[in-house]
Amino acid sequence: MIFSCPSSPSPKNMAAPMTLRREIVSLARILTGISHLGTTALGARSSHKKYNVIRSHLPLTPSTSFHTATVLSSKPSSITITEEPDVLFQKVSVLVKGHDRAVLDSYKFFATMAAEELGITISKVYEPAKEIDRLTLLKSVHIFKKHRVQYEMRTHYRCIEFSHITGCTAQAYLEYIQRNLPEGVAMEVTKTAMEKVPDHILEPMWKDHPIEDKPSQ
């Protein structure tokens, strides 16, 4: 199936109408100046593609040199584009949990604004009900069973759901969101990826390989 996908910044020598996968060479480099992701990402992608197109040769730092001073290249990091078809997510749901409502409100504002800037469709933003974990413990170290003390832990939630997002965009956006997650806040990301029916399920194999007439075990 070929879809007309007009990706707006289309590279100069790309003619195939399939959705492209862009290589995140060093996203971290742009944000915080640490470059330890570039090598591993590039190495993994290069293995399985039929058409190996644009390959820019960056000064690849070995992954063990994390603690040594890395030289930031003066030219901007180039983007590698491979022919591997992009993963498509029908729904990506981000649930953040924390003990403080104000922090979650600020984070929600940040996440929604970032999504709007990057052009990601937000389908729903809502606040699931908070959960309170209560414990009742003895107040004293020894005896005094009638005197207790109660503690509670409140967990507040916020959920942001995105729909129709590609794999590259999701990867870039989620990494940005997760790097700016404040302390004391946890996140769960549920992704629903869409795939076609695989080729081996289109037709039953018994047509090509008829079974002999023997009793099954």
Binding site: M1, C5, P6, S7, P9, T19, L20, R21, R22, I24, L27, I30, L31, I79, L88, Q90, V103, Y107, F110, M113, A114, E117, L118, G119, H164, I165, T166, C168, T169, Q171, A172, Y176, Q178, N180, L181, P182, E183, G184, A186, M187, E188, V189, T190, K191, T192, A193, M194, E195, K196, V197, P198, H200, I201, L202, P204, M205, W206, I211, P215, S216
Partner: protein
């Protein structure tokens, strides 16, 4: 050595004095044998400087000066002041912020030296201007969604297989979460190439994983340690189910009425009942035997009755089905 140690003592006492007024009472009560009295130590600012010699000279303390906020202009670049996540600095944030509990009907304490403002995570590095800058840098790494797949219906039509998995991000001793390996594979049975027998066999094989209302088969795998492995295992299960359901085994011929998924009226108790009743009512006239029954079966009222009973049994009781049954019964008995 004794005098030196006493000077060190005084140094500590002197510092303690400067910090809080309450400590002075305790100092007066404490009996130390010191060369100098406590009062003279209170007057000094630190130990006596020995002219720059010796290991215990301190740097002269400078005045803090005016806070940086006074020198900030209104149109400065805030992203340069707070480029990344940093704790709150009261002399670098030009906002008159107050935080804390107002003790004794007072007001919340000011921002200078306020621990509450330092403890709470702040978003000063993520102002709208900063977010815009970051997103501009991220835009080259994003791809567009194919415009042909704008509705969910089209997505389901072209990509019917959905795989769902969850990632977890939290602080703790370990980055890993074992729940992240779980994969749910969802397929709509109508999209698979199955004939009637294969469909029924597949539903029987999967059991509870099939939801009749939404026609969705859900395969959940968590037996492998990695998500990739679980996904491949789920696809393998789907493949095996598909191919096995097209096979017809020898023992499938022993399927009884109790195994049937749908109700079929032929050779059922309901058919026998209605035919017996009609024969007894002598609707056709005189005559017994098979031809009479077959003649009765061919009648339109009996066919309608058959449809209504089948519908009742398969779909369950509702207003429409009950009314249809009532009408059919009335017609058969010509009431």
């Amino acid at each position: 050595m004794a005098s030196h140690s006493s000077k060190v003592f005084l140094c500590f006492l002197g510092r303690a004095n400067v910090r809080g007024p309450g400590l002075q009472d305790t100092l007066h009560r404490v009996t130390y044998s010191t060369a100098q009295s406590v009062n003279t130590a209170a007057g000094n600012r630190g130990p006596p400087d020995r002219g720059g010699r010796g290991p215990f000279t301190r740097k002269p303390r400078r005045d803090p000066g005016e806070p940086r906020t006074e020198k900030m202009s209104v149109d400065q670049d805030w992203t340069a002041v707070y480029p990344s996540a940093t704790p709150f600095r009261s002399n670098a944030v030009p906002l008159p912020v107050r935080m804390g509990y107002p003790v004794k009907r007072g007001i919340p304490p000011e921002k200078k030296g306020n621990l509450e403002l330092i403890k709470i995570p702040n978003f000063l590095h993520l102002t709208p201007a900063a977010i815009k800058k970051h997103c501009e840098a991220l835009k080259p790494f994003c791809t567009e969604w194919p415009s042909a797949l704008d509705t969910d219906a089209k997505c389901d039509e072209h990509f019917p297989v959905k795989s769902e998995s969850t990632d977890y991000v939290s602080a703790g001793p370990s980055v890993r979460n074992p729940a992240a390996r779980i994969v749910h594979l969802k397929v709509k049975m109508s999209t698979l190439n199955l004939d009637d027998h294969a469909r029924k066999k597949m539903i029987k094989l999967v059991g509870k994983r099939y939801c009749k209302a939404s026609d969705v088969l859900t395969i959940t795998t968590d037996s492998c340690p990695l998500r990739k492995q679980n996904l491949e295992y789920a696809m393998y299960l789907l493949t095996v189910l598909y191919h096995e359901s097209w096979k017809t085994e020898a023992w499938e011929a022993e399927k009884t009425v109790a195994d049937m998924e749908d109700y079929s009226w032929e050779d059922s108790q309901s058919q026998k009942n209605i035919l017996d009743t009609l024969v007894r009512m002598k609707v056709v006239g005189e005559g017994e035997g098979e031809e009479v029954r077959e003649q009765l079966l061919g009648r339109r009222e009996v066919q309608d009755y058959k449809d209504s009973v089948t519908r009742l049994k398969n779909e369950g009781e509702s207003e429409i089905t009950m009314l249809q049954y009532k009408d059919a019964v009335k017609k058969v008995f010509s009431l």
